[in-house]
Amino acid sequence: MTGVEPYMFSNLGTLLLLAGIGFTARVVRRNRLWREAATSLWRRRRLALCVLGVYFAIALLDSVAWKGGVPVDAVGVLPNAPYSIVDRIFLGTVEASYSAPFASVEFYGGSSLRNPGTHPLGTDIIGRDVLYMALKGARVALLIGGLTSLIAIPLALLFGVGAGYFGGRFDDFVFFLISTLASMPGFLLLIALIMAMGRGTLSVCVALGVTSWVGFCRLSRAETLKLRELDYVRAARVLGVSEPGIIFRHILPNLAHLIVITFVLMFSGLVLSEAVLSWLGIGVDGSWGQMIDGARDELSREPIVWWNIAAAGTALFTLILSVNAVGDAVRDVLDPRTQGDAP
């Protein structure tokens, strides 16, 4: 088998991500301020950080995929498709129809299951394991939040820092662009962008990115305006440090805490928006939003099929709650303005 396939990008992306995390960890460990912030964050939100770690681990296990080594005779298993570690755990446990959690017979029809007792959260209408789908959603959710931030934050920094530092015509242009984008009803703009670009993970992330960079752009512009008048920046200019040198050495490091705060606070909003997009039929495949949307009508069955929506809802809620809790703590730890404010 030759040729580049999507799963290879996923593997490569995982590798890059781990390398990036290792590098960040090194920087944090070397710098006293960041190290203290990290310890303080860990002391305040131990549980929430652990939960996020579990989500992240599941997403990583689902991102590394390879071919081969699968039982060929199992139901619904394609021998030549790449499977991730999470896929391999649940491989071949597809049923014919609904089963309740831990059931040994099918929900409708009453015939016994192929894999009785192996579906701790039951199965959905076409017999897929609910736990499996809920676990798969972790990667999608983290991808939506992460990829979108990767688009939105650099975009906001580019325009915000540029406008704040250079001022003049470019500042006028950026300010006009920001006011224009901010005047369009956010959710409608988001939908319109996805409709115009077509559906798919990347276009959803780009659309979410385009609609969510404005706030941080405004913030970084205002902050840069303040920073460039500070004495040490002026001193650097007098000493003949080049413009890029000033921006990368003296401006950006002073925006780092805002980048971290924005990233964490933005994350939950992005994942929640995707849930609504899924309901409109323009979301990302395999997300919890799609699971909730698909399971919505099942509540009106008799007997009620509730485990579907409960699993997706709990997974989504737990992630968002942890991110929100960590986000508040991150803001308290890093933002000098809220130092010493309520927990």
């Binding site: 006011s179 005047s183 009803p185 115009a196 609504v276 509540l299 968002i320 709650l321």
Partner: protein
């Protein structure tokens, strides 16, 4: 003051021009009229039918001014939007303006009570939380807010419909009636869901505003002269904190007209949110375009109104 108003209006017009240009790029340059026609009519239609459809909708011209200065889609798009001549829906050829006019009433009958009731619930609650700041009640309140914020609106809606509508049978699951006697029964559930889903972020925002005000000098002065805590909270803190709250409320008013996407379509209210959902599901680009335009226009007007009303509420603000 007069010069300021004029400048502010001028900037508003400029922003609307920018909005219209972005809309043009999204809906004509990225998805060109042939795409729209094919999505509306189907993939396998003879070219003649597509040309006929484009003529009916006014899409049968070159896109950009440099292709044809007198007759191009860009100028036509500006002219039609600015004269409120929105044309026909791409999906079913009905006039868009009619659907907007029909949808406005039901939308407002949901969103106006939602805004008013939401304020009536969240302002007293946040005042209470701010009153007990840095105690257990405050910490509990903030925690509950974060909890409430972490639930997807989809789940609130589905949960309420299932629990209150289906199991308890208190209110109809969905529906709408223009009869004023029957309307409250249908609106009860969407209103409840709307208030509960917004309460977390609202209470937190207002709490911050209240706490910020209560560390001001005039509050300390009031306390020093012996005013009771309750009097300080209502007379000094509440009245001053109303300025940021007012900004929020005024900026929310434009969106009352465009309705609520989720609530309307889940609860079967024939408003503008429902029009939007229909437009998305049937690839109705012209309706989508019109709705974004109207939403932006109302927002820009609202923003100008907020800026000007600051001067009326807050005597410290001077226009330059």
């Amino acid at each position: 003051m007069g010069a300021y108003v004029l400048r502010r209006l001028g900037y508003g017009v400029g922003v609307m021009m920018g909005v219209l240009f972005l809309l043009f790029v999204m809906f004509f340059a990225v998805t060109d009229p042939d795409d729209i026609a094919r999505k509306a009519l189907g993939e396998k239609v003879p070219p003649a039918v597509i040309e006929q459809w484009k003529t009916n909708h006014g899409y049968d011209r070159p896109l950009w001014p440099w292709q044809d200065l007198d007759d191009n889609l860009l100028f036509d798009h500006y002219r039609r939007m600015l004269t409120f001549d929105f044309g026909l829906s791409d999906a079913d050829d009905s006039p868009i303006i009619e659907r907007i006019r029909e949808g406005m009433g039901p939308s407002l009958s949901l969103t106006v009570p939602l805004l008013v009731l939401g304020l009536l619930v969240s302002i007293p609650l946040s005042l209470l939380v701010a009153f007990f700041r840095e105690t257990y009640i405050d910490r509990m309140g903030v925690f509950l807010c974060v909890l409430a914020m972490s639930v997807s609106t989809l789940l609130y809606i589905i949960g309420a419909q299932f629990l209150i509508g289906k199991m308890l049978r208190w209110f109809p699951i969905s529906g709408f009636d223009s009869d004023l006697m029957l309307l409250p029964r249908f609106l009860a559930l969407p209103l409840l869901v709307g208030i509960v889903s917004g309460i977390g972020s609202d209470v937190r925002f207002y709490r911050t505003a209240f706490i910020e005000e209560s560390s001001r000098d005039f509050v300390r002065t009031a306390r020093a002269k012996g005013a009771s805590e309750v009097r300080i909270m209502t007379r000094h803190v509440l009245r001053n904190a109303l300025i940021p709250i007012l900004t929020q409320v005024v900026l929310a008013i434009p969106f009352l007209f465009t309705g609520s996407l989720l609530l309307e379509s889940f609860f079967g209210i024939p408003g503008l949110g429902g029009v939007m959902v229909d437009a998305i599901q049937s690839n109705d680009f012209s309706t989508l375009r019109t709705m974004v335009f109207i939403g932006s226009l109302l927002f820009v007007i609202g923003q100008i109104a907020t800026d000007l009303s600051y001067g009326l509420v807050d005597p410290r603000v001077r226009f330059k």
